[in-house]
């Protein structure tokens, strides 16, 4: 008959709390987290990186607030005029070539060799670009295979 007194079992289970990595592990964990965030940033579409850099550039200028706003407005206006020139009655392509070019550049970025990323990292790169890629499906070719740890028994 199985003994329903689980006291010793639960004590043993509680002692598993002490199975831990050394404290240095958690420090390097945070560094690794930052490194991955930076790597993920590089997967953003070119236009988004360019836009953020533009914004940051103007923000760093010592010119007055109004000059900053005016500069941003000027950039937007230029972008608007450029896109309008290309938005002729062509229903198929709803995006100006500048963004399309950025997208194809992004597609090439994605084809770069990736170093040592786990399989589920694919999830994040496609998530980030989902908003821009809404007109294009994700073209599937895994760069890392499904995998397991080696075993010496079977």
């Amino acid at each position: 008959m199985p003994d329903d007194n689980f006291d010793e079992l639960q004590t043993l289970l509680r002692l598993k709390r002490y199975e831990q990595p050394p404290p240095e592990y958690f420090q390097s964990f945070l560094h690794e987290f930052h490194r991955r965030q930076r790597a993920e940033l590089l997967r953003q579409p070119l236009w988004r990186i360019a836009w953020e850099r533009t914004v940051a550039f103007f923000a760093e200028q010592t010119a007055s607030r109004y000059a900053y706003s005016a500069a941003v407005a000027a950039v937007l206006l230029c972008a608007g005029i450029t896109s309008m020139n290309f938005l002729k009655p062509n229903d198929r392509d709803l995006q100006p070539p500048s963004i399309a070019a950025a997208q194809s550049a992004r597609l090439d970025l994605d084809n770069r060799p990736r170093a040592h990323l786990p399989d589920y990292f694919k999830e994040f790169s496609s998530r980030k670009t989902a908003s821009v890629a809404s007109l294009h499906p994700r073209y599937v070719m895994d760069t890392r295979p499904v995998s397991y740890e080696p075993s010496s028994s079977f």
Binding site: K16, R17, E19, Q20, F26, F121
Partner: protein
């Protein structure tokens, strides 16, 4: 109440302040959350996967996912519950894909265990049936194997309740099941583990 349970209720304002700052665009606030929650989440993921490398990878993914989703966090549940929920779900999905072929890679035990009251009680000569420290090591090995023989869902509740010390209510919120389900899964899992350990002792 155990320390884990106390932590989940205590200082909710600190977490909320950190989240607000992250949402406002200060990534260093999220770093504090990572530092605060990575040890607990490590324990959760590690005891479910029994593999240090997998735990490391999963933990990175869990925080990455949380960071990307932080702007949508509305505070309906505590950050503690939220991130544990993400952690448990990602770990279970990972385990389903990993299947049976894997290697146990167990972390060394921290030296502080020797100051633990229960450890001292278990091994002290003053009790009627002390466990030798040598046998304790083997018991722990067998326990780890026994844990891996449980189903992923059963291992999750044992990890959260027995190892991490979370109350039934918190576990039911994290898993999205009733407290009754949590209790019955725990009972079944304890029985199973007990049986596996009995098999070992008979040898």
């Amino acid at each position: 109440m155990t320390t884990e349970a106390a932590a989940s209720n205590a200082v909710p304002n600190e977490d909320n302040a950190l989240i607000a700052r992250t949402q406002a665009g200060d990534p260093s606030a999220f770093d504090v959350l990572v530092t605060k929650y990575s040890p607990r989440l490590y324990g959760l993921v590690y005891n479910m996967t029994s593999n240090h490398e997998d735990t490391n990878d999963l933990l990175q993914d869990i925080f990455a996912k949380a960071y990307r989703a932080i702007n949508g966090f509305r505070g309906k549940s505590s950050f503690y519950t939220w991130i544990h929920s993400i952690g448990v779900n990602m770990t279970i999905n990972f385990l389903k894909k990993r299947g049976r072929r894997y290697t146990l890679s167990l972390d060394d035990v921290d030296a502080n265990i020797q100051n633990d009251k229960e450890f001292i009680e278990l091994t002290s000569n003053s009790t009627s049936n002390p466990v030798r420290e040598a046998d304790l090591g083997e018991l722990q090995q067998r326990l780890n194997e026994a844990m891996m023989r449980l189903s992923n869902e059963h291992r999750a509740v044992v990890t959260m309740f027995d190892i991490q010390g979370m109350p039934h209510a918190e576990i039911s919120k994290i898993l999205g099941v009733s407290e009754g389900t949590v209790r019955s899964r725990l009972f079944y899992a304890h029985r199973q583990l007990q049986n596996f350990l009995e098999e070992f002792r008979k040898k």
